[in-house]
């Protein structure tokens, strides 16, 4: 039940060696300076980029490796991006329902799940709003709801507090910890902030990219 990423990620001249493993329900922190390839690791695990060499394996299934590549939509991997990336032309509910809809859930069921997910991050009252009218902290809550609603088996958090002001961080951190506590996903968290990582990862551990 382990996600194992072992090999080289990158593109063109940019190459980084990676060797990490995370159990189901576990959280692994990845820290490192700018340009260390942290985000590239997440994008590669999500299937947005391909591995240069080596493999990504989950529960014995090869997601990326010699002669094998599972497309993003079949990986059940979800990314929460550093710059949030909500869809600006959709309201909050449609943003959160997007994942379930992409995986074939009927419209009504997707909306219902999205409402429940929004409620779990304290955004139930904002379902009809558009992203442009939300604060940074509110947008990040929506982004978390959008990720967790799909019940992913791999969750990739790229600097989850970077776009949020310092006052909103403690509340958001609690929301994220609650969500993680109820999830069986293998979670990779990228951050600059050692304290953030240690708070989220608990005993899961931290790996450092250089």
């Amino acid at each position: 039940m382990t996600l194992i990423v072992r090999g080289t990620v990158g593109r063109g001249d940019f190459r980084r060696d990676v060797d990490l493993a995370v159990e189901a329900g576990g959280v692994l922190g990845i820290i490192g300076p700018n340009g260390a390839g942290k985000s590239t690791v997440l994008h590669t695990v999500a299937g947005i980029e391909r591995m240069v060499s080596g493999s990504i394996v989950i529960d014995g299934e090869v997601l990326d490796g010699p002669g094998a590549f599972v497309v993003p939509e079949l990986r059940r991997a979800v990314v929460v991006f550093q710059d949030i990336r909500l869809f600006p032309h959709m309201d909050v509910l449609a943003n959160v329902a997007y994942g379930p809809r992409s995986h074939g859930a009927p419209r009504a069921e997707a909306a219902e799940r999205a409402r429940a997910a929004l409620a779990s991050v304290g955004m139930g009252a904002m379902a009809d709003r558009h992203p442009a009218s939300l604060s940074g902290g509110e947008r990040q809550r929506v982004a978390l709801a959008r990720a967790f609603v799909t019940n992913p088996r791999i969750l990739l958090l790229d600097e989850p507090f970077a776009a949020v002001d310092t006052d909103s961080r403690p509340g958001l951190r609690e929301v994220l910890k609650n969500l993680l506590a109820g999830s069986t996903a293998r979670v990779l968290v990228v951050s600059h902030d050692q304290a953030d990582i240690e708070d989220l990862c608990g005993s899961g551990g931290v790996t450092r990219l250089t």
């Binding site: 993003p72 939509e73 059940r76 990314v79 990336r85 997007y98």
Partner: protein, 322 residues
């Protein structure tokens, strides 16, 4: 006093260098020249066709008659371009309805599905389509497209004949507005596709990755991000295509039966457009009929101008919003 004088802001001026001035002059000259040429064309057509507008007034646009008369009072000349104007709009709209979905498909295919090494080959081939002379399209349309299109017309008439647009007064399907529209669709495909491709290529990469990051397929990403983003630009491309279709002459002339009757039955063998009317009558026109052709040209010119202005406004607006 002395202190006040010291804190008065210094006036900053930026003087243009000589090369700036020369460059500015050349660019301005180019811009104004195109405007002047446009104005001169309009003035020329108005000057030559003014007599017709004075003699016939609005009926020149609304009536359906093209009779040069005998030159005396017993059989006066009568001119009205309504059927040609309607034919111009109908054939162009058919072209648009057929070409735009194709253009969207082709543009998406080029931008998101074709392997990079093949993309340039495909794009060059499409651009080459724009370089084929109209008369070649016309001949091809007449000898290759029409025999096939007649069969499609018959099927449309057979299955959808209950719809007024697809009825025919007699079972003759050659040289119809439908066939002319199909040919025009092929002719405007390169420009419409090219604009659509340009717009789709600028769809925000981070939003596309966000859809993948949520488990979307490529088509899901296109539907969620690329198509909404490119909507404005696509409308602009379609309008540029429409502008070309409205003014097309020789290709339409070869595949469309020139009949002076307003015809909205697109499968029937009757129609025409303003440009092909001018081409047909120009050689043998009397001086007075020539003025009528100039007036018809002015009507077409205004129509095309309006379409192009609407297109550039839409493209500019979509560029701002993106």
């Amino acid at each position: 006093m002395g202190v006040e004088a010291e804190v008065t802001p210094r006036r900053l001026t930026v003087g243009r260098t000589r090369s700036d001035k020369v460059f500015r002059g050349v660019m301005s000259l180019g811009g104004f020249t195109s405007l002047v040429v446009l104005g001169l064309i309009a003035a020329f057509l108005l000057f030559r066709g003014f007599e017709i507008f004075r003699d016939f007034g609005l009926s020149f646009i609304t009536s359906s008659m093209w009779d040069a008369g005998s030159g005396d009072a017993t059989a006066p000349a009568r001119f009205g371009v309504a059927p040609m104007l309607v034919g111009t709009i109908v054939t162009s709209l058919i072209a648009l309805v057929v070409a735009v979905p194709f253009a969207v498909g082709v543009a998406l295919f080029f931008e998101y599905y074709v392997p990079p090494f093949m993309k340039n080959v495909f794009v060059s081939m499409l651009d080459l389509m724009a370089a084929v002379p109209s008369v070649v399209y016309g001949i091809w349309g007449y000898s290759v497209l029409m025999p096939h299109a007649v069969g499609w017309s018959k099927s449309l008439n057979h299955w959808f004949g209950w719809f007024p647009l697809f009825r025919v007064p007699a079972p003759i399907f050659e040289r119809s507005p439908f066939i002319a529209g199909l040919l025009l669709a092929l002719m405007i495909l390169p420009i419409t596709t090219s604009v659509a491709r340009e717009v789709y290529s600028q769809a925000p990469r981070d939003q596309i990755d966000a859809t993948y990051g949520l488990g979307a397929t490529k088509w899901g990403a296109i539907r969620t991000v690329v198509l909404p983003f490119g909507k404005g630009g696509l409308v602009g491309g379609a309008m540029l295509g429409l502008g070309r279709a409205l003014g097309e002459t020789i290709a339409v002339y070869l595949v469309l039966n020139l009949v002076f009757k307003v015809n909205l039955q697109v499968l029937a063998s009757a129609g025409g457009n303003v440009a092909s009317l001018i081409a047909t009558r120009f050689g043998e026109a009397s001086p007075y009929e020539l003025k009528a052709l100039m007036a018809a040209g002015l009507v077409l010119f205004m129509l095309t101008l309006v379409v192009n202005m609407v297109a550039s406004t839409i493209v500019a607006r979509s560029r701002r919003s993106s």
